[in-house]
């Protein structure tokens, strides 16, 4: 198998890495956290690099790229702990392109690609936990279209986004809708989250909505799978940077007259962290490989990938703090921020325990990369 990246993919990686290294410093991140967790200018800069339209087809103004390019971009953004949810644009672009009627595509895809419209998934409900098939928000048809009533939680950048992709029940079956934030009946309550990024509660009262598809559950599962693959890739970037920060600290810090990197316990710990990083990287590649597979295969693969990445994220994050000693639990020093990001990512799109259940329920007699 060939796991080398093409020249175009390397150039894409370089472009994003340059933007993060030069334009998204820890100071910029801190300032954005302090200001509420979302800086529109940063999102616009990413759009200008073509990133928001990565998955938008070329005929709608996007880059028309695939899972490997998405993986490369998300890894680089993960390294910089970029707060603005570019991942949501990847999901929205692919979802509308794959499932929406032509009119909705024509209206919104160019805006996603151009950066004018940040569209985010709004699907979390209290009763559902990590399940996608439980939805109390309901939709009713009107003379002019659809109206949605209900509430969604922890919507990424919810009070800053321009539109939402919302699951709602139609006669007991989940359908998917697009709701502009400017629509009547829409209200949001914004707040910061544990990793510093912004989220919001979304309240819908007879809110005007455009139908994306009545086959909502399949589309929602697909959207979440795109999100899982993106999160896996992002986590690889976060873990990679976390390891680099930690290795530098261990090789610089002296205690009892020697560098602490000489302590065998810490050397073995770093080896274990490296194991988790590489298993995680491998399963992020796996997720990218399987993202366009037939539905059942794709769902099973994303569950496996997210389970591995969740395990890796937790271990690398916790141990990076531990081996730093006291400085690791301070706010001033950078590693705790990477740890909190990894913690939040583990609990996004279904935590490890949830994914283990998904893997277990889909098990066949044999298992391998190609089965």
């Amino acid at each position: 198998m060939d796991f080398d990246f093409s020249d175009d993919q390397e150039q894409l990686r370089d472009a994003v890495r340059k933007w993060v290294d030069k334009g998204y410093s820890f100071e910029r991140y801190r300032a954005a956290v302090k200001a509420g967790g979302f800086e529109r200018a940063a999102y616009t800069e990413m759009a200008e690099l073509g990133l928001s339209g990565l998955y938008v087809p070329e005929e709608h103004g996007g880059m028309g790229m695939g899972p490997v390019e998405g993986m490369v971009v998300m890894e680089e953004l993960g390294r910089g702990m970029v707060l603005e949810p570019l991942k949501q644009s990847l999901i929205a672009g692919a979802l509308l392109a794959g499932y929406a009627p032509e009119a909705v595509k024509a209206q919104w895809l160019p805006k996603i690609a151009g950066g004018e419209a940040l569209i985010v998934m709004a699907y979390q409900e209290r009763a559902a936990r990590y399940r996608l098939d439980i939805c109390e928000t309901c939709a009713s048809q009107t003379a002019t279209g659809w109206e949605l009533t209900g509430g969604k939680s922890v919507v990424p950048a919810g009070d800053q986004a321009d539109a939402f992709i919302v699951p709602a029940s139609v006669d007991g079956k989940i359908a998917l809708f697009l709701v502009p934030r400017s629509a009547s009946g829409v209200s949001t309550r914004g707040y910061g989250t544990q990793d510093g990024s912004r989220a919001a509660e979304l309240s819908l009262q007879n809110a005007d909505a455009a139908l994306i598809t009545l086959d909502g559950l399949s589309a929602l599962e697909h959207a979440v799978d795109i999100g899982i693959a993106a999160t896996c890739a992002e986590a690889v970037g976060v873990m990679d940077k976390t390891m680099a920060i930690t290795a530098e600290y261990l090789n610089t810090r002296k205690q009892f007259g020697v560098f602490i990197s000489s302590f065998q316990a810490l050397r073995h710990r770093m080896a274990d962290m490296k194991m988790q990083l590489e298993l995680g990287r491998s399963m992020s590649y796996y997720a990218a490989l399987k993202l366009n597979a037939p539905t059942a295969e794709r769902r099973a693969a994303m569950a496996r990938a997210k389970y591995q990445l969740g395990t890796s994220m937790r271990f690398v994050g916790q141990q990076a703090v531990q081996v730093h000693g006291g400085i690791g639990v301070t706010d001033e020093y950078i590693v705790s921020h990477y740890f909190k990001k990894l913690t939040q990512m583990e609990m996004t799109f279904g935590d490890s325990m949830h994914q283990l259940g998904e893997v277990a329920s889909r098990m066949q007699d044999t298992a391998g990369v190609f089965a």
Binding site: R129, T193, T330, S336, K340, D351
Partner: protein, 256 residues
């Protein structure tokens, strides 16, 4: 600890203290501080340490809070710049501070196992898990069950250590285990509580973590501080002698 550098020089009926302490918990509220200071450079490092009580309002004392990863200034750096301390504030005898410190530490190691809090937190974990609907999920419930056994086993270990102390037998060789296990258990229950809340542990709303807050919660009110507590508890395997250092000490008791 024996390599501490804060110095106290005896001048007449005063000690002049110079140096710095770090990780001083709740130092920003302290009115007095117990300090281990170096009063002699002769002999082994442990034999030149004294135990001083210092008024934090004394001129030359500066407190600088350190904000932890949960956003709270829980610990501090305390700087001593030619601070004058009356000789009456010496605890016990000069240069015997190491003995007093070791005595205190032996108790820290049983207290730090924090079994009674672990039992209460286990109860709270079960309440939260039930309220969040994960107590009936076998996978989640098994994790709580494992933790329950860990807590009971730790309680037995503590009872053995306490019984041996009471009977006058030395049992410091397993006391190190208490700190290791106790801290791991603290981390695990805080982790499971956060995981029980799931997505509803993610919002960070500072007001919602204040006592007596009556505003709208995202999810249930108890969800608000769970992630912050999980983050804060990462310190337990680091402080009080890191678990790596504790394991080295335990290994010595086994291997010599």
């Amino acid at each position: 600890m024996a390599s501490l550098k804060t110095r106290a020089e005896r001048v007449g009926n005063k000690y002049i203290v110079n140096g710095q302490k770090t990780w001083t918990i709740l130092g920003q509220y302290g009115e007095w501080i117990f300090c281990l200071v170096r009063t002699s450079n002769e002999g082994k490092p442990q034999t030149g340490i004294s135990f001083l009580l210092i008024d934090m309002k004394s001129p030359g004392v500066t407190v600088r809070p350190t904000v932890l990863l949960d956003g709270e200034p829980e610990v501090n750096e305390v700087f001593f710049d030619n601070v004058e301390v009356p000789v009456e504030n010496l605890i016990g005898e000069e240069n015997k501070g190491w003995t007093y410190a070791k005595h205190l530490l032996s108790h820290e190691r049983t207290n730090i196992a924090d079994v009674n809090r672990a039992k209460r937190e286990l109860e709270r974990l079960k309440r939260i898990a039930k309220a969040e609907g994960v107590y009936t999920d076998t996978r989640f419930r098994d994790e709580i069950a494992k933790l329950e056994v860990d807590v009971v086993a730790l309680e037995m270990l503590v009872l053995r250590v306490l019984a041996a102390e009471k009977s006058g037998k030395q049992s410091l060789d397993i006391a190190g285990l208490l700190k290791i296990r106790g801290s791991e258990i603290q981390q695990r229950y805080s982790e499971l509580m956060m995981l029980a809340a799931g997505p509803y542990a993610l919002p960070l709303i500072h007001e919602a973590m204040e006592a007596g807050w009556q505003g709208d919660a995202v999810g249930a009110a108890y969800c608000a501080p769970l992630a912050s507590t999980y983050f804060n508890m990462r310190k337990t395997t680091i402080y009080g002698g890191s678990n790596e250092v504790q394991r080295t000490i335990v290994a010595q008791t086994v291997l010599g």
